[in-house]
């Protein structure tokens, strides 16, 4: 009789989730599913609201990556107004978006995943957390915390608030950046660059001790989707969508993000509140693709900044075609953090940043507007329809995490099949299943508009639904 192992709640992720592992009569793992168990419904909440309120409202979707929602929402607002945004405002949005990538990736790597990497997948649960990392290497942990602080500080200095900054509005931003703010940001950069160097060296020295995990935690072919600029380099604010396959071939290039709905579809399954986006030409579920740090580095020809470019070249040598191992999301995340610091350094050195021309005012001139940007977890799309007065009639949010949904499910299944021995179940086995999800750093409150904290549960059940075993944390 088949059984089900349920991990519920999942820990060290952002949001509520559980994992089901189905075990067949022979005692082997047959399949596994990643369920997102809550629903928030921001797409519905914003119906009837004035479009100018949308960035501030959308910032509330998430406390980890509010900036991405503010930026995508503002860009959709720009499109609805039909205006050109002043260059200084674009630079502000770019800086804050990079700062958010930095702080969000720092949270994922140092606070959530480094306990697995530094202390080991089988370390005891009471040690496998950020306090365990501090105990093992306080200097390393401090650097991680400081990197996140730097990102948050930049968001606060430019955006007015560390969390839910609503400074970016349709048509631009609310206030100009002062020289004092610029200098304060610039003063942080040397320390951040040094910390990134140390973190990258540490990660690369650890990688060899995770050979089995690299090979069996979410290592499978898929498409990769990300935004690149005109030179094919990493791009987080504007640019075109590029899709490549696991061999490293470009499948589609120069796709207009404003026409995302022509090439990306969204399916749903009854067992999860998170949608399942797919690449339309290959259908569902064959059109599975990945977004986020690993995908961006796979599709980008270069990083566009010197230090990150060196790391990217080395990174691309880890595979013949694309780097398909989900475990390498961690390394990709660090390279993107380095890139973010370098970009912030460039942007604050630009005198145009201090221009006081930061906002174009207009009434709504279009009925439909789309905004996209690269969020920490991948490509984000906000799509609004308004009436003649500028009230939102319909909204569609295509969230980065949900675009990884098919991949996360495959990663969970592959990991469970390799590491979980149902008859000799150990906590470390289940932690590896969770670690597969942590590679993707999912933000479930974003992707489902789900309420709540962030726990995970694993359950073992018979096909009939009878509960056999349950591991619960959170």
């Amino acid at each position: 009789m088949p059984e089900r192992i349920l991990i519920h709640p999942m820990t060290r992720i952002e949001g509520h989730a559980k994992i089901s592992i189905w075990v067949n009569d022979a005692g082997d793992v047959e399949s596994a599913q990643f369920h997102v168990t809550d629903f928030r419904g921001f797409e519905k909440i914003c119906e009837g609201r004035p479009l100018h309120e949308m960035p501030g409202l959308m910032a509330r979707v998430c406390g980890i990556c509010p900036v991405s929602h503010v930026v995508a929402s503002s860009k959709a607002g720009d499109a609805l107004l039909g205006v050109e945004v002043p260059p200084a405002a674009v630079k502000q949005r770019r800086i804050v978006n990079h700062a958010q990538v930095l702080q969000s990736h720092a949270l994922s790597f140092f606070h959530l995943s480094s306990p697995d990497l530094l202390l080991g997948m089988d370390a005891t649960v009471d040690k496998r957390n950020i306090f365990g990392v501090i105990e093992r290497d306080a200097g390393f942990a401090r650097r991680g915390i400081r990197l996140r602080q730097f990102g948050q500080k930049v968001i606060e200095l430019v955006g007015g608030k560390r969390i839910h900054p609503g400074w970016s509005v349709p048509g631009g931003v609310q206030t100009a950046v002062t020289a004092v703010v610029r200098d304060e940001i610039a003063a942080w950069v040397p320390e951040a660059l040094e910390s990134m160097g140390i973190a990258l060296d540490r990660m690369k020295s650890l990688i060899d001790s995770f050979r089995e995990e690299i090979e069996h935690i979410g290592n499978f072919p898929s498409l990769f989707l990300g935004t690149v600029n005109d030179d094919g380099a990493l791009e987080f604010y504007d640019g075109r969508i590029r899709i490549s396959d696991s061999e490293g071939n470009t499948v589609a290039d120069g796709l207009d993000p404003l026409r995302y709905h022509t090439y990306l579809g969204e399916a749903s399954e009854e067992w999860s509140f998170m949608k399942f986006p797919y690449y339309k030409p290959l259908g569902y579920p064959g059109g599975k693709y990945r977004v986020g740090p690993l995908a961006r580095l796979n599709v980008a020809t270069s990083a566009g900044t010197p230090r990150a470019d060196r790391e990217l070249r080395e990174f691309k040598h880890r595979a013949k075609g694309a780097v398909c191992q989900s475990f390498h999301y961690h390394l990709a995340r660090l390279i993107e953090m380095l890139h973010a610091v370098e970009r912030i350094e460039e942007l604050v050195a630009d005198p145009e940043l201090l221009s006081e021309d930061v906002r174009t005012k207009a009434i709504p001139n279009r009925r439909e507007g789309i905004g996209s940007c690269e969020a920490p977890r991948g490509t984000l799309f906000h799509h609004y329809f308004v009436d003649a007065d500028g009230l939102i009639r319909k909204a569609n949010l295509l969230i980065a995490t949900s675009q990884n949904n098919l991949a996360m499910n495959q990663a969970v299944e592959q990991t469970a099949k390799h590491f979980v021995l149902p008859r000799q179940l150990r906590e470390g086995m289940l932690n590896r299943v969770e670690a597969a999800i942590r590679c993707y750093d999912p933000c479930l409150s974003c992707s489902t508009h789900a309420l709540g904290q962030m726990p995970l549960i694993i359950e073992i059940r018979r096909r009939s639904g009878e509960l056999l075993d349950r591991v619960e944390r959170g």
């Binding site: 009837g48 609201r49 004035p50 100018h52 309120e53 960035p55 501030g56 409202l57 910032a59 509330r60 839910h164 609503g166 509005v169 349709p170 609310q174 005012k361 009434i363 007065d389 500028g390 009230l391």
Partner: protein
């Protein structure tokens, strides 16, 4: 003009006959909470936040409508009054959809400020979550019924100061709605002069200038004093 002497919160104060307890108290720096009162237009006692205790009277009285009397002993800040005020503000929050964090008036809202003063960190009554529309048909201004507390400042200032009487009240109880003209969209109103006085006196984000983002709306309510002084004294001074 006779002078009345009374005691408010232990202070001996004087007011002229016909002056309200609220007016005397505020002139002497005793700040009684209010949301429907605003200097320069008539009072209606709609919000009930300025209720005070008067010794010798069982019922609480709205200080904005109660004239001072000789020998009156008034208390404006007692545990009983604080409890009443807190409940009133909680009921206001529960009745409609007041979400400060995504409101254009966040940081400059009289309702929000009062809630902070009263230490309201949660609402004990069940939220009603009514489904209410936003009217953006006017060229310059917007009306969000979700944030309206039915104080009627807009109705009074439009009628008494601008003389347009565009605004009025439709319905009863929780179904009451501020309407323009005979219930037409604001943008279709024939009587509205687009002066914006209603927007400036509105204590919350119910009336706002179009194009404002979250936390961006700021209101200047001092204009009313100039207008009233100009009307009464024919001088443009405060």
């Amino acid at each position: 003009m006779s002078v009345k002497t009374l005691e408010i919160d232990g202070k001996m104060l004087t007011g002229v006959a016909g002056e309200t307890i609220f007016s005397v108290a505020w002139n002497k720096g005793i700040r009684i909470p209010r949301l429907c009162h605003i200097g320069g237009i008539s009072d209606v006692g709609a919000c009930r936040l300025c209720l005070v205790e008067i010794e010798g009277q069982k019922k609480l009285q709205a200080s904005c409508l109660t004239p001072v009397e000789e020998g009156m002993v008034v208390h404006t800040d007692t545990p009983k009054l604080r409890a009443h005020r807190r409940l009133i503000v909680e009921l206001l929050f529960a009745e409609r959809n007041h979400i400060c964090s995504v409101c254009v008036m966040n940081g400059d809202c009289e309702l929000q400020e009062l809630a902070t003063e009263l230490g309201i960190d949660h609402v004990r009554v069940r939220y009603q979550f009514p489904s209410l529309p936003v009217d953006l048909t006017h060229e310059r201004f917007g009306l969000d019924h979700n944030r309206c507390i039915l104080c009627t400042r807009c109705i009074r200032v439009c009628d008494e100061v601008e003389g347009a009487h565009t605004w009025d009240m439709l319905g009863r109880g929780t179904n009451s709605r501020v309407i323009s003209d005979l219930g037409e969209p604001w943008g279709a109103s024939d009587s509205c002069t687009s002066c914006g006085k209603c927007v400036q006196v509105c204590p919350t984000g119910a009336l706002f200038a179009k194009g404002k983002a979250v936390g961006e709306m700021r209101k200047d309510r001092t204009f009313l004093k100039y207008i009233v002084t100009a009307r009464e004294k024919k001088q443009w001074i405060e």
